[in-house]
Point group: C2
Chain length 376, copies 2
Amino acid sequence: MKFELQATDIQSKARAGIITTDHGTIQTPIFMPVGTVGTVKAVHQRELEQDIKAQIILGNTYHLYLRPKLDIIEKAGGLHKFNGWSRSILTDSGGYQVYSLAANRKIKEEGVIFQSHIDGSKHLFTPENVMDIQRTIGADIIMAFDECPPYPCEYQYAKNSMELTHRWLRRCCERFDSTEGKYGYSQTLFPIIQGSTFKDLRVQSAETIASFEREGNAIGGLSVGEPVEEMYAMTELVCDILPKDKPRYLMGVGTPANILEAITLGVDMFDCVMPTRNARNGMIFTSQGILNMKNEKWKDDLSPLDPTIGGYVSTFYSKAYLRHLIVSGELLGGQIASIQNLTFYLWLVRQAREHILAGDYRTWKDYMVKQVMQRL
Amino acid sequence: MKFELQATDIQSKARAGIITTDHGTIQTPIFMPVGTVGTVKAVHQRELEQDIKAQIILGNTYHLYLRPKLDIIEKAGGLHKFNGWSRSILTDSGGYQVYSLAANRKIKEEGVIFQSHIDGSKHLFTPENVMDIQRTIGADIIMAFDECPPYPCEYQYAKNSMELTHRWLRRCCERFDSTEGKYGYSQTLFPIIQGSTFKDLRVQSAETIASFEREGNAIGGLSVGEPVEEMYAMTELVCDILPKDKPRYLMGVGTPANILEAITLGVDMFDCVMPTRNARNGMIFTSQGILNMKNEKWKDDLSPLDPTIGGYVSTFYSKAYLRHLIVSGELLGGQIASIQNLTFYLWLVRQAREHILAGDYRTWKDYMVKQVMQRL
């Protein structure tokens, strides 16, 4: 993986860059649609590429390990071949899912023993086997195995958890560096900063993670219920410590406003289920603001969803038609809304990038945050 | 509407023709995907046109009348404008849905009083207002308001019901012929033959319906639970009575075999929810046979779904990937399966048409029925 830092905004810490993997280039700042089990929910791969213009999508180790299982992904020649997505993929390590989804999890120094949420079967994730699993899944960017503490949590819990994550990171790196990709292209490993909302822990974690000198770094354990000011404060703190010449990934964030603000603080990469999950509930993000499609006011609004952002659904379908589909519980409603929201998220980060390159990001951002977050 | 009969098979009564409406040409025999509330479930309009190659889709009067309601469809300029489907549309009259979905229905000479299955509100459908409603929806082909008797039913019930349908047809024609389309293109009205599985009633109904000399004729009240031999017998009986120079539509039919057999008897048009409904349950129709995607045997079959029939999903996605999506309950699974099944149905009728034109339909059909109905 290569990262070229192209520009830094004069008025803020916002950055524009290019990540290059063996599956193509990624222009940052970038939003990565979440494809948990190898599918971005309700969206065809062709739509991701041509309409949404996604450059990289996420997969999840925990989910893919349980279904369809590794033997099938390996037989296909990796996740790209299995699901037909030929651009870059990043896999989350499964650390978060083990805590949020699995039953009867038990954290030990060795790793985590847990039961599948699907069939109750018992499994062990260790830093070593999670590296092996992600080698087999074949993502371009793989994530270290970490413990994500809940919010709020006691200082001592956060400290112990962070130290465990750091010890696990050493084991992740040793295993990753002593193995090779299985499919002829290169993979890279991103470590994850933890430390809850404690400044000294976040500083310590950022310094430790930076010292590993990997090709990119991630900020975990945020957007888990803490006040948004805390999230921004922790993000700014660690961005100032992380090396400038490597991409920074803020995991699980967020709303359009969260993304624009975190870009201001120096973040390059984002992922979040919000655009697809909220879509299925009838919440539409557009360049003009947020629409609740269940609202009566859209029932006879025959104007297109969001004609300025490009893409098929944003120009082809009207608000009234989408409202009809969502109110009627029709599958196409969720499909249209998911594509609209992801098209908007990718449009938003492309716009952000253009304004960083043009040197007026901060001014544009202050205006745009208000516009895209207003309820229409 | 125009119908040109192009060829009749030498070995059977199969026909090839062209229907022309103000929204384009329809090459027969044709299968019409069902878009009950103005959407073919889980399928984008672009996919219907470009991948599935649908030439005409269905809408449903009962459903569209209740949601989104007529005022919105009229404000849009008709259903074509509302849902963005620019080719032909046929609307079923709602007669069948009033009996199968609505609560507390009461059939009178005037019409049917029923309660909405959505909110319990009371409504009256009459032959006259159902014509008016379909004028407002704006389908190219609209259906007469009929009563569809259940199967099995007593001879006297079937006879009374058929006679009511005939009296209603006269009122439908009077209303239709004294009104005009609302959107500047022409509409046509198809009457519906009833008579359950009683030969003398079917003969009487076919003769009555033919005497109205409308531009096309439909066969209703079949595929409602009767043995398949009865369905074919009734279809053959009425096709032999109906005029040769007008298209014949067998409503609600059916499996690939049903369609190929009914084409042999002289049917030109079909619709059925089977390809989309069964898709969502994991049943896939292909040119090689029927696949239950929940079956373990497909879990590592990385071959494409059905590469010979054309279209995006049939060549792009593998059986193993589709199985993974369906077993995991992922929305994309139902989407892929729906497109595959509809692409196959449209491929099948295109193939049928080519063989009718080539003069070897009967031979091809006997082979194809076995192939497409085998369980793989």
